[in-house]
């Protein structure tokens, strides 16, 4: 028989829900055997040195669009483990005050990350632990850390130059082979047989000689193995990719606009997606892959190291493959209803929500009948790139990529946190308002969101 779980204490402040009396009425009295709300393992959140600063509590996301970054309120919390939250609070401090200097904690974290990166053999566990708290925005750091987290760069620094050279030339090979148009392909086939091409204008008058075509390759060929036929079949996908790339982040100069820079970036995105589609006939290209590629390419291209920036396309390709490998199943239509497909993932999110906040779950799915597929589909398949602004989604990805639980698990926890953070508004809303809210998720403090997500981590005993 299922035990009804109570709302965890830290959620139970006046901050989150309607007047305590009704909250108590809605939730059954806690059973004595209920364990105290779990806290994240100390090793993950422990700041390098203990902080004495006063607790600054997090604000409730405001009812409307006003950016709450600049509001701070002090609340009473039943919470008595203040020092665990302090480093997150300080993150908030530094995140919120846009123009202020990074906090001492951030500086020390950056120093630690840099120290870790400069070691001969990087301790990936340590790097993950540091990266999970957020990667500093200083140029170049995120690029290298992501490459390490995605397994593109091996932990042993000594191997980096050979690995990079290897992979980059491999990508160049892919490009040459895959992006060649049929004219060139057939020309190379011809060149092996004869080198005769008549000059159009020359002194003599002759009948132009006709020659045989190799392998029956001609542009109108309908043969399945014909390079021309395959080319025309691929044009559909290439057109789709082209359209999607042009629509990616239209508000960012990096991706959009008439500048040479934007155009070359778009070209790079297209190449990567086309090559991926050709190399993976099982999944090919699905709309949305461009959104997953965009932050990767952006981070890698903005590397201050010139060589890295020049090879950003090749590096981004392999990182994209690696990142997508965990999420491929979301894009395969046939798997939609299977155990590994997107539907099952959404169901797991639903279960996670039920586990952590039954009241909200019940209100959302049963009372207001908001099917999680209506909002969670985009959250999950696009890895939250569409729900937050670009800079925030980079921070979220820091956590997604570095969390030892793996991106999919972490993603579900973050989604769950997203729901719980706006529970007051959701509980007050009906189908229409809730759906509207969830499909246009209000801007929120990312560090706080990640902190809450972290709290849902499954505790090992």
């Amino acid at each position: 028989m299922m035990k009804k779980k109570k709302v965890p204490d830290w959620l139970n402040s006046s901050l989150w829900s309607s007047p305590p009396s009704s909250a108590a009425a809605a939730v059954p009295s806690p059973t004595p055997s209920e364990p105290p709300p779990p806290y994240p393992p100390l090793s993950v959140l422990d700041p390098p040195e203990p902080r004495d600063s006063p607790v600054i509590d997090h604000t409730d996301p405001p009812p409307d669009d006003a950016h709450h970054h600049h509001h701070h309120h002090n609340h009473n919390h039943n919470h008595n483990h203040n020092h665990h939250r302090s480093d997150r609070d300080n993150d908030n401090d530094s995140d919120d005050a846009v123009s202020s200097l990074p906090s001492a904690e951030e500086i020390s974290r950056q120093a630690q990350i840099l120290a870790e990166l400069s070691r001969k053999v990087i301790d990936m566990r340590e790097l993950r632990r540091l990266a999970c708290q957020g990667i500093p925005d200083s140029p170049g750091i995120r690029s290298i850390v992501w490459k390490l987290l995605l397994g593109y760069l091996p932990p042993d620094r000594g191997l980096w130059s050979s690995e990079l050279a290897n992979k980059r030339s491999q990508y160049k090979q892919f490009k040459d082979d895959i992006l060649m148009n049929p004219s060139e392909i057939t020309r190379r086939m011809y060149n092996s047989t004869s080198c005769e091409t008549d000059d159009a204008k020359c002194e003599s008058r002759t009948l132009l000689s006709r020659s045989e075509i190799p392998h029956g390759e001609h542009p109108l060929s309908l043969g399945k193995t014909s390079v021309w036929n395959q080319f025309f079949q691929d044009t559909e996908i290439i057109d789709q990719i082209d359209r999607d790339v042009k629509r990616t982040h239209p508000d960012m100069h990096f991706f959009s606009g008439d500048s040479q820079f934007a155009k070359s970036n778009q070209e790079a995105l297209k190449n990567i997606l086309i090559i991926f589609a050709k190399l993976n006939p099982g999944v090919r290209y699905v709309q949305g892959m461009n959104e997953i590629l965009a932050p990767l390419y952006f981070v890698l291209k903005n590397d201050p190291d010139e060589e890295n920036a020049a090879f950003a396309e090749a590096d981004a390709f392999f990182c994209f493959v690696e990142l997508l490998s965990g999420f491929r199943d979301n894009f395969v239509q046939q798997l939609d209803n299977s155990v590994v497909g997107i539907r099952s993932t959404i169901t797991r999110l639903s279960q996670l929500l039920r586990e952590h906040d039954e009241e909200l779950w019940r209100h959302l799915e049963v009372t207001s009948k908001v099917n999680p597929q209506f909002y969670a589909f985009r959250w999950i398949t696009l890895l939250l790139t569409q729900e937050f602004n670009f800079a925030d989604s980079l921070h979220i990805w820091d956590t997604l990529l570095s969390d030892p639980d793996g991106p999919q698990e972490t993603l579900l926890r973050v989604c769950c946190a997203m729901l719980i953070l706006i529970r007051r508004r959701l509980l007050a809303g009906d189908f229409t308002s809730n759906l509207k809210l969830l499909q246009n998720y209000p801007s929120t403090n990312i560090s706080h969101l990640l902190y809450v997500a972290n709290k849902f981590r499954v505790q090992s005993v």
């Binding site: 148009n181 049929p182 004219s183 060139e184 057939t186 020309r187 011809y190 005769e196 091409t197 008549d198 000059d199 159009a200 204008k201 020359c202 002194e203 008058r205 002759t206 009948l207 132009l208 000689s209 006709r210 020659s211 045989e212 075509i213 029956g216 001609h218 542009p219 109108l220 060929s221 309908l222 025309f232 044009t235």
Partner: protein, 190 residues
């Protein structure tokens, strides 16, 4: 990589009912970027059919065309090449290389495409290349016997052109090619 279809002298419906089925099965929309037609379609239905294959259609007037508004000659630039189009019944003697070369110099084009003889030919001379795609339906003509249906597909890629010649011989489609290139994109002095 631009694909240009060159065909003509279909003489539908007077001398032939339609393109051969094997040609029609190959000519599908979406592959060809331009169509140049030497003329003698002769009716609007053929024009409409060609328009479905490719919206960029250029036609010059043959002596039996019902549409009187097609021009006598036409020139267009595709990539690095200038192409000229003319039905060819105006050029006398019919199919004579010297006379056609004069027309080519007049039009100042690298590739001249003409028809009327219902026979595929491809010549080169000092002024450029002359191509006759033949009759796409194999319609009879007064100057050619045993006409095989034929048409031409040009693949213009930079300074090179690969001309694919499609002929229906004994019920089978045979494809050959001809390669040629320009040495430069500027005017060459003769």
């Amino acid at each position: 990589m631009v694909l240009v279809l060159a065909l003509g002298d279909l003489h539908v419906p007077h001398r032939a009912p339609d393109l051969p089925a094997k040609f029609k099965s190959m000519l599908v929309p979406g592959k060809i970027q331009h169509i140049i037609c030497t003329g003698n379609l002769c009716i609007k239905e053929v024009h409409d059919y060609l328009k479905t294959l490719c919206p960029d259609l250029h036609i010059t007037r043959g002596e039996y065309d019902e549409e009187t508004k097609y021009p006598e000659t036409k020139t267009l630039t595709i990539g690095q090449f200038k192409l000229g189009l003319c039905h060819g019944h105006q050029v006398i003697p019919w199919g004579d290389l010297d006379s056609l070369a004069m027309l080519q110099r007049q039009l100042d084009v690298d590739i001249l495409v003409t028809g009327h003889t219902h026979q595929f030919t491809a010549y080169k001379h000092e002024g450029g290349v002359v191509i006759n795609p033949g009759s796409a339906t194999g319609a009879y003509s007064s100057i050619t016997y045993d006409v095989n249906p034929s048409f031409v597909l040009m693949d213009i890629d930079g300074l090179r052109v690969v001309v694919y010649v499609y002929e229906l011989i004994d019920g089978e489609v045979k494809v050959d090619k001809i390669d040629f290139k320009k040495t430069s994109s500027g005017q060459s002095a003769h």
